[in-house]
């Protein structure tokens, strides 16, 4: 009788643990996380739209060593500047013939330029009340080489002051003649603020590859993705798009979410496996505790 009771208790325990784990993991997976440049973030500066387009993400930039440059287009976007090792990994990938699209905060871009030995000066955010979509900070820019139009989210002006020998930096995209540098960041034009066309993207050739640096908060982010997807497809051609998410390792929550997600969304297989592991551990621990008692 006692054995029967113990067995039925164990069944109830397994059911309860399995259901609650499943619900917890499912909710944890599907609930949105607001973190800019995150692959699963659906807000303005997230990368959910890009992630949905069969893109894969990198948990660490060291993985680039195993990536064949001709088969991948790397997208690096960050709020915080990349560390020395990270930048070296990216540049090494470019030198091997890879293509990289780099954008993010002004500090991240400045760090990249400084790492390359290019002296730059930050002049301020760019606003274009005429050539913009929905709001003046979503600025339409013209790509010089391809004569295509891109939509950049919160572009800013970084002026190249000087560069090291062997570094080939060419302006890649300009804002319209109606844009201005909002030096005091008040969102309005103030007398004396420069008005005209400004470079907002640079092409840097390194080795046999190309680094496309955009001085903008968002290029392939959700708010502007639909406008730039054609350009991305043209740029990627047959290559797969790799999104750098190495910075998520600093947050276990973001990292775990990425682990149970794939580019197609939350993976039921991963969730089930994780649930099974948790249930096994719980049942084992319960059995041990029961034996002791």
């Amino acid at each position: 009788m006692r054995v029967l009771l113990r067995r039925s208790t164990r069944l109830v325990l397994i059911y309860t643990v399995a259901t609650s784990t499943l619900i917890a993991l499912a909710l944890f997976t599907v609930l949105p996380v607001n973190c800019i440049y995150y692959a699963l973030d659906g807000t303005r500066l997230g990368h959910l739209e890009l992630a949905k387009r069969s893109s894969a993400w990198l948990y660490t930039l060291r993985d680039l060593q195993g990536v064949e440059p001709g088969k991948a287009l790397l997208v690096v976007a960050g709020e915080e500047p990349l560390g020395y090792e990270g930048l070296e990994q990216v540049l090494e990938f470019v030198k091997r013939g890879g293509a990289v699209v780099f954008y993010g905060s002004e500090s991240a871009i400045k760090k990249l330029f400084e790492h390359l030995g290019i002296a730059v000066a930050y002049l301020g955010g760019i606003v274009d009340p005429v050539y913009s979509v929905n709001e003046p900070s979503l600025v339409l820019v013209n790509m010089v080489s391809t004569n295509t139009t891109l939509l950049l989210d919160s572009p800013y002006c970084i002026q190249v002051l000087g560069r090291s020998e062997g570094i080939d930096v060419e302006p890649l995209a300009y804002t319209s003649a109606f844009s201005y540098i909002d030096s005091n960041s008040d969102g309005l034009y103030s007398v004396g603020e420069p008005l005209g066309s400004f470079p907002v993207a640079y092409s840097i050739r390194l080795g046999s590859g190309e680094l496309l640096v955009f001085c903008a908060r968002g290029v392939l982010t959700n708010a502007v993705f639909n406008y730039n997807v054609k350009w991305l497809e043209g740029l990627a051609d047959a290559r797969s798009v790799l999104l750098d998410q190495s910075w998520t390792r600093t947050s276990w929550l973001l990292y775990l979410k990425l682990l149970v997600n794939t580019s197609r969304g939350a993976s039921p297989l991963y969730i089930s496996l994780l649930t099974a592991v948790i249930v096994l551990v719980a049942v084992y621990a319960y059995g041990k505790a029961l034996e002791k008692s």
């Binding site: 619900i23 599907v30 003649a177 109606f178 201005y180 034009y189 103030s190 007398v191 008005l195």
Partner: protein
């Protein structure tokens, strides 16, 4: 099983719901930043002046860009003008219809200038934006001159008539003789008109004698153009309509007319005192002028009179009263209307008005001692008219009285309800006829209410006497009044209060010796009750349980020490304690 299925379905639904991602459609935002629009306008105009082709693109783009409704009309018209400059002026004048378009373009420059002014008026940094507006106006002036030249040049080259007019600066209202020689005999000059900013000011038909036609136009008088021109030379368009077989066309010229402001002298003393009569001398050096005389003070502008002035000086007397003048800086303003010869203008003359206070004396003393706590003031009015006084005591209006002329008024201004009070009074003496300025008097004094002071002193003395012997009762009452805020019966509250009140007695009034005594006693018997002295307790409780004489003696000595420590001014000396200790130690040995 069914529960598991339901759970999974719920999760699936949650996932579906969260996966919805709406894509907002782009919508153009109307431009409302006036400073930005002014800067772009400057850029577009400067490109036009410098013949930069990119200017056409800027004008075209801005023409299509949506702006807020208040600016929309002028915005569209202005950029249409700039765009037509590229299409008409840059292309060159090839035929007569181009001349007409060129003329329309010339007239359109004023619209651009108006747009620049409107944008400047709504700029958030108006002063800083003024520089941009000035630059825009200079560019437009340049553009206007260029178009004038083009218009004259093309009109001369292409027309079948030759237009002759004196190339000089005309005066307003002056006759302008216009002579037209017909080159193509099939054409006839019909009408001559003088226009400015699209408005026709005068037009006449030609009278022809052979191939020579003549018309006399009047230069527009100043009153007709007062809203469009400022002092200086204004260039107006002279338009000649010529009829040829199958078509009518126009010939354009520009005539210069000098408009001026009148010369008027406004003279008066630069300072005046309230009640004085201000003599203002007015005369005109530009003929008879009518206008309005007004006084501008710190808060308002008051019209004094409609006047007409001529070459002969006119004296105008104005009483410096409060109706028109405030104390300090005032401005006499004469605004004359436009005449045929002169434009309207306002002339100003500053006048400093000094106040005139009524002769008032206020008599007050710093300390008032009265049985009722009242304080009085004497106000002596030395003016031969009734004045009114508002008395404010401690910031509140206490009374409003009339002060009879050349008389003394006694005012009861304050009554103190405290034995001692400080009062601050402000007396504003005003002249109902507003000849005098308000006289303000401020004073602070002390008021002693003798009756109340004596009553309080007596009451205090009685209370002290009564309560002196009932200190405990008084303490008890005090304790009861503040002991509990809850709704409790007195019967409930008293034991608590008593406990609280008698706590020091129970604990030995803080005497360490008493505490030691209590500690010792508590080992053998009970502690003293509330209504028991130490000696009563000793006699009843201690002696009944302690039979040893030596113990009784030790406790008695300790009691005496405790009493001395608690109640006597002379505290027990250490030698006494030592003596007691030694006696106990000796006994133990």
């Amino acid at each position: 099983m069914s529960k598991s299925l339901a759970t999974i379905m719920l999760i699936a639904l949650v996932m579906l719901f969260l996966d919805v991602n709406a894509n907002a459609q782009p919508s153009p935002q109307p431009l409302a930043d006036c400073t930005y629009l002014l800067a772009v306008l400057e850029k577009a105009v400067s490109y036009a002046v410098r013949d930069v082709p990119e200017g056409e693109y800027i004008a075209y783009t801005m023409l299509k860009a949506p702006v807020v409704s208040e600016l929309s009309d002028l915005h569209i018209k202005s950029y249409s003008v700039l765009l037509s400059y590229y299409t008409v002026a840059m292309r060159g004048v090839g035929n007569r219809s181009d001349i007409q378009r060129l003329y329309e373009l010339y007239q359109g420059i004023d619209i651009v200038a108006e747009y620049a002014r409107k944008l400047h008026s709504c700029c958030k940094e108006s002063e800083a934006a003024y520089a941009i507006r000035t630059r825009v106006e200079l560019y437009l002036q340049e553009l206007r001159s260029r178009l004038e030249g083009m218009l004259v040049q093309s009109s001369s080259n292409l027309q079948p008539v030759a237009l002759h007019i004196d190339d000089r600066v005309y005066k307003p209202g002056e006759d302008m003789d216009i002579r037209v020689d017909v080159i193509n005999k099939t054409c006839t000059p019909r009408l001559a008109a003088i226009t400015y900013a699209g408005i026709v000011f005068d037009s006449k038909e030609f009278r022809c004698t052979g191939l020579e036609c003549v018309a006399v136009l009047k230069a527009p008088p100043a009153y007709a153009v007062k809203d469009y021109v400022k002092s200086g030379v204004a260039k107006m368009s002279l338009v000649i309509r010529v009829s040829c077989p199958g078509s009518d066309f126009r010939v354009f010229r520009f005539v210069s007319i000098r408009y001026e402001y009148p010369q008027v002298v406004v003279d008066c003393p630069s300072t005046a005192t309230r009640g004085d009569v201000l003599n203002i001398t007015l005369y005109s050096k530009s003929g008879v002028l009518s206008g309005v005389l007004a006084v501008k003070n710190a808060t308002s502008v008051s019209t004094v009179a409609n006047i007409t002035i001529g070459i002969t000086p006119t004296a105008f007397m104005l009483l410096v009263e409060k109706l028109y003048f405030s104390t300090g800086l005032n401005t006499i303003r004469l605004c004359v209307n436009a005449t045929e010869k002169t434009l309207p203008y306002c002339f100003e003359k500053p006048v400093i008005v000094k106040p005139r206070h009524p002769s008032i004396e206020v008599k007050a003393v710093p300390l008032y001692m009265s049985w009722d706590g009242g304080a009085q003031l004497l106000i002596i009015n030395n003016v031969d008219r009734v004045l009114s006084a508002r008395v404010y005591v401690n910031g509140r209006l206490a009374t409003l009285v009339e002060l009879p002329p050349l008389n003394t008024t006694l005012l009861h201004v304050y009554r103190s309800l405290f034995p001692l009070a400080l009062a601050n009074i402000v007396i504003n003496v005003e002249d109902p006829l507003m000849v005098y300025d308000t006289y303000s008097y401020t004073y602070s004094f002390t008021v002693v209410n003798l009756a109340l002071t004596i009553a309080i002193v007596i009451g205090g003395l009685i209370s002290t006497t009564l309560l002196q012997s009932r200190e405990r009762m008084f303490t008890l009452l005090l304790a009861m009044s503040g002991a509990s805020k809850r709704v409790r019966s007195v019967a409930e509250a008293i034991p608590d209060v008593l406990r609280s009140l008698l706590k020091p007695y129970i604990l030995g009034l803080g005497s360490r010796i008493a505490q030691l005594y209590y500690k010792l006693v508590s080992r053998f018997t009970r502690l003293p009750t509330i209504s028991e002295t130490l000696r009563e307790h000793y006699n009843t409780a201690v002696l009944s349980v302690i039979k040893s004489m030596w113990n009784r003696r030790v406790l008695w000595q300790l009691l005496l020490l405790a009493e001395k420590d608690m109640y006597s001014r002379e505290k027990p000396k250490p030698e006494e304690a030592k003596k007691l200790y030694e006696s106990i130690a000796e006994e133990e040995h």
